[in-house]
Amino acid sequence: MLKILTVCGAGLGSSFACQMSVEAVLKELGVEAKLDHTDISSVAAQTADIVISGKNFEKQFERITLNCPAVFLDRLVDKTEIKEKLTPVLKEVGAL
């Protein structure tokens, strides 16, 4: 199953809230996925099909080798922004 990982600095607050907004968006789109949240220092050790994080982390992600597409959000809990940015990526990975 498609695995989506949301990422923030601590891996339990912002990324958790983001995960829940992503869940709501996926439900609307009818896409099934396994979601989890983590912190930026452990993201490289995990596997995922799509990574979602805040714009403020974009630079830090440049230093990490990711084997999947990443989405960077201005507002971590904004369903409209999540849908807009995630939809093309879901198509890219063949989930939509």
Partner: protein, 155 residues
């Protein structure tokens, strides 16, 4: 549950806060006073913020201020600070009126409370509703009601 993780005494309303560092300290004060976090927790969050920016600004008006469990969390708990004049945490981050201080002991055990908060964060009207609250009682009742509504949807 909100009723377990947020004591009414942890809710405060202020007119203004001078700067973001003070905002971190003030938002954590109720948790410090009652022994949910060590005094260093706020300092650690400030240090994190200086390093990577305000990673806890979720959208306009919402800051979910938190650090990692090992940065000084003793027991899980929330505190809510409402500030009438918005605070800015950086030049390019959104102004914030609702400061939610989160002490989490691990990545998942606060899931039920996060679900209630997330249902507010995705709804602009609910954010406005909360930000315009006039009393501690109003905020507390609002959060309890949100939790109840969520449970009814699930049942």
């Amino acid at each position: 549950m909100i009723s377990e993780m947020l004591r009414k005494e942890n809710i405060q309303i202020l007119d203004h806060i001078d700067d973001w560092r003070e905002a971190v300290h003030i938002s954590m004060k109720p948790l410090e006073d009652k022994g949910y976090v060590e005094p260093r927790y706020a300092e650690e969050i400030i240090r994190n913020t200086e390093e990577i920016g305000p990673y806890y600004i979720l959208t306009e008006d919402i800051a979910l201020i938190h650090g990692r469990p090992e940065q000084g969390v003793l027991k899980k708990q929330l505190a809510v600070t409402l500030v009438n004049k918005p605070v800015r945490f950086s030049q390019d981050s959104y102004p914030v009126r609702i400061l939610i201080a989160l002490a989490a002991t691990d990545a998942n055990s606060h899931i039920d409370v996060m679900q209630v908060l997330a249902s507010i964060f995705i709804d602009e009207k609910k954010i406005q509703n909360m930000a315009n609250s006039k009393s501690v009682e109003e905020i507390y009742t609002f959060l309890l009601k949100e939790e109840q509504e969520r449970r009814q949807i699930l049942c």
